[in-house]
Subunit: 332 residues, 2 copies
Amino acid sequence: MIDLLDRVRQGHARSIARVITQVENDPQAAETAVTYLYPFTGRAHIIGITGAPGSGKSTLVNELAKVFRQRDQLVGIIAVDPSSPFSGGALLGDRVRMRDLSGDKGIFIRSMASRGTLGGLSQATAAAIKVLDAGGFDVILVETVGAGQAEVDIASAAHTTLVIEAPGMGDDIQSIKAGILEIADVLVVNKADRPGAARTARSLKMMLELGHNLRVNHHGRLMQVSGVNEDETEVGWRIPVKETVAVAGTGVSDLVDAIIAHRVYLQASGEWAFREMARSRREVEQLLHSRMMTRLEITVPRTNHDKLITAVAERKTDPYTAVAELFAQLTS
Amino acid sequence: MIDLLDRVRQGHARSIARVITQVENDPQAAETAVTYLYPFTGRAHIIGITGAPGSGKSTLVNELAKVFRQRDQLVGIIAVDPSSPFSGGALLGDRVRMRDLSGDKGIFIRSMASRGTLGGLSQATAAAIKVLDAGGFDVILVETVGAGQAEVDIASAAHTTLVIEAPGMGDDIQSIKAGILEIADVLVVNKADRPGAARTARSLKMMLELGHNLRVNHHGRLMQVSGVNEDETEVGWRIPVKETVAVAGTGVSDLVDAIIAHRVYLQASGEWAFREMARSRREVEQLLHSRMMTRLEITVPRTNHDKLITAVAERKTDPYTAVAELFAQLTS
């Protein structure tokens, strides 16, 4: 495997693809790959892109890739697709993309589909990001669908998170409710040639300007505070609202400028290091959980474990008592 | 606290509200409450309701509550809102609801907002469900926003999961991509008086009828299989597609019939017990993780822990090596 991993470091596309497949399917391979490649990571700018279905995310990601390529950056794209097992969504998206971007060796595209395991997708995505990072890609675009814990997890792996909106996608309150705005570093109103685009951009800006009781927290992200300490005058990053028409390429170069400005801000302010800390903490916590579950399988016989779960299901014991028992066996 | 928990068991609304607030904010209170109340749970029919913003979920939940009340059922509503910290979405939704349903002592409404902690919201929701269950509510409607891991987690706590669609909410492939269809026990096309409703219902039904390579798995849920074993003739639950106009109450009684039919199916087929097992397993796993994290805080000095995280962030060690070290200290 070390030969293969060395070819990954040289940016060999087929080796990269092979290793990503391995880390996706086999936790042991993920451990080997990440342990070997990890010292060579940390160079890439990881950009998360999220937003509701119908916002034109995929097209925008393609256009972003093209603009980064024009600026001589190597671009990796990871499309994280928690798709239905019967949609084939990942494959479909891939094929459309391949047609558009294929032939450019400076772009690597990969879809990752949900395996249905708790934390499995974000762990596999984190590993794939590292493979591309070690493979020398300058920019890694991580696209996710929808709004949920998966998006928040993936945003926490990104340096810069874009949230894509489009006009006329339900009322504004609903879109805020979806709860992805607070992870945004850059807001994008795509399909900006459609009716209502100006209104959507305006209401997003207004919301941001409600900022007298908002603050950028130590991760460089927006949070609400109950009172504003007037001594603190540092403003941090001002989240821009950018308008694009991805199908025509309009506004995309301007958006790339904003993304690069965010990277410059992160590095100048020390936020880059803070986000790396947060990312590392979360990753270690997730791996610790996986290791504990593996240890549990080894130390507690499956029949004992199942008996305890059955007792909980049948209300013969409660979950806390069951956990105390398992934990005692685990650490004895 | 035991007095308070006894009043919960008697269905005393203010005590229920107080205990839910406690379990939301204090893991120790959650442990006390769940340990005490757990033997009295397991009676309620837990119904998860999910779907994209704009599908009219909240209105439909209100109408479902009214129909269940007409059938003499006590109804608890938990609106899980992973909302932005600056939207106040949860409160807004609550106020609209209160106006509509207040005055009926047979309905208890509660919003739960994201605390931003990994697994925190689903653990708090699971505890709140138990409080209502022990409080004698016959039906517990758990409403979630969006499509993501949170929804999948919450669906796994439900006996019956409704996925709400509405016509004209972006193309069908996108809505499938959102990946919530595979958790559905009942599909609902709400706003069925709008143009495109018939088309949406038709395409959902078509998708379900693609079923020659689909199967209901042992949780009673849809999954794709590569080949169909012709010996297995058992069909399991056939996911119905129901049309409603929630604002007018149209189709809601019919939907309630479908929900009750699903409960009858679950109990007759033994799936109810299977789902309780799956729920118990997941809950025990989550609590085990929390307990491990607590133990970690106690056994590994914070400075050592932080030093290790910093080393990972700075690429001086890799996450797997860091985890091995922490785990050794944890179990030594």
